[in-house]
Amino acid sequence: MSSPQLLQDVSSARLTWLRFKRHRLALASGIFLVVIYLTAGFCEFFAVYEPNSRNPRAIYAPPQQVHFIDPVEGFQLRPFVYGYHLTINPDTWVREYTEDHSQKFPLQFFAPGEAYQFWNLFGASRHFVTVPDTGYLHLFGTDKLGRDIFSRVLYGARISLSLGLLGVALTIVLGVLIGGLAGYLGGMVDNVIQRTIEVLQSIPTLPLWMALSAALPPHWSPLGVYFGIIVILSFIQWTGLARVVRGRFLALREEDFVVAARLLGAGRLRIIFRHLLPSFMSHIITTATLAIPGMILAETALSFLGVGLRAPIVSWGVLLQQAQNFQVIILTPWLLIPGVFVVLVVIAFNLLGDGMRDAADPYGGSNSA
């Protein structure tokens, strides 16, 4: 039952937005994702260091605390961190770090720091936040080689997040193309595609991914591996989408407005692009949004198994690979910080997708996938 009077003058985009806005969590997630994607996009600027630069004075160093109050000078507006004082405990062999109050590094914003190549386009050295040359800043601590986790998380975000997007883009292309073909052509083609999908879906995903990743030629460059992994992850995922697309195609093909277009003499392409695709675009976008976190998690899983991305590429999965053991929890829990980001992003994408699903398609039946 719709209420024509009220709907009169509301555009569909606006209605969708109104509905979406009602999901506070989805809205917040969307904002969070925009922020983190921006940060990832400009990670050279937001990171303090390059992902592979090391601070030999800080191996497995815990996060530095940002201070505002100095014991001598009292409160000061410019926050600062103290340097580390390292002792290796002879009994426990643990590297124990304490704050060295004789070393004080004020945080500087938009100041020059470690030089970098922005997107490999031009050189620059300004960072969002940095400390003077003599000091170091490790907001999330450091890893086994003294690399800054904060910076690595940001660089990792670029890889992991873009991997999700590209993977899903590929999934969509494959899913829509193949599903659409099956749904539109029907008959033999449909049958073959349907069987193929069934077969692919009956093979447990992880073993399949493992097998495929293990098959990536070892002489591929890290970038090649990156794209290889994307292809592998999309290899299974498209099937789900294709099924949905096919189903929708079949259903929509019988919808009156599509029949009407056919009776007007519209050709196949016109029907597909003017009528069918727009009708489930919102559905596809939602599905895609919900599929991205799956990709990100899958990447961490593959990295965990050692068949995913590999150094010097820094992804969240690669970072978590360092954190995959018991000792991390006990001794260096800050190595799990990339995991926190994975969790946040995955949740955010899911909430966003949920919100979009509820908001999308105010007229058409938005039956769940």
Binding site: L320, F326, V343
Partner: protein, 327 residues
Amino acid sequence: MSGFILRRLLAMIPTLLIISVIVFILIQLPPGDIISATLASLQQQGMEVSTEQIAALRAQYNLDDPMVVQYLRWITHFVQGDLGYSIKYQQPVNTLIWDRLGYTVLIAVASLLFTWALAIPIGIYSAVRQYGFGDYFFTVVGLLGLAIPNFMLALILMYCGYSWFGVSVGGLFSPELAEAPWSSAKFMDLLKHIWIPMIVIGTAGTASIMRVMRANLLDELSKPYVVTARAKGVRPLKLIMKYPVRIAINPFISTIGWLLPTLISGEAIVSIVLNLPTTGPLLLQALLSQDMYLAGSFIMLLSILTVLGMLLSDILLAALDPRIRYE
């Protein structure tokens, strides 16, 4: 009904055949082969190996036959129940696989039940209290389960299990009981260990099931027959359980089959972290070391399990939904 089952069984055959081809290609893909891996491990023990020895070994394992011949040999033996010989473990695959497969199924089923036990009531609750605080709360909790990478959660739980309850780290049994015959003590021991993988794998699937349950229920709740029943004076709890839940359950049953691959995948990761005697760790080893019969048989068996799971869910669905049964 039996005709239905028979038809579905027959339909499985071509699917499985195609899967077997894919699996076979898959395990042939990676560079290197098991013979080199074997030689590598021989060298690890200090033995010297020569090129001639390699050739001899390859001949022993028929590795130089054409692909098609190798495939046919593999699949005919497979069908006869001979899963081949693991070169890495120097054992017939049969002796390696069944226990592990059993535990995999056990864990998968336990996780599935756990997921359902958790997700369905919560899904019902959030549907009934749509947009309430509980709805949001459980959605986020459910998503947390989905979002925490399995291996991380497993590690954290393993640590908690050890430091709070003194559960031995890793494994499905305490060492004393691992090989003991089944007894109540062993069963209790299993329960003491299985909760970690169960929770880890289970929570990963909870979110999606919760969501589907909620969506299905919301869909169902406004269906005319539910309104009809309400108008009959049926009390809310009974009403929900008898109608919407009953029908909203159907999609779940139909997803058992599709869930299995996910569960098995989750199981693989968790088992590697926790060192469970299931297919996951062995499969990883087999894949990495190119033990193709082992890896191939594993993937094949898991796929058969999945296909059977789908069959099972179809049968259950047919049993539950008269419309399908009578078609």
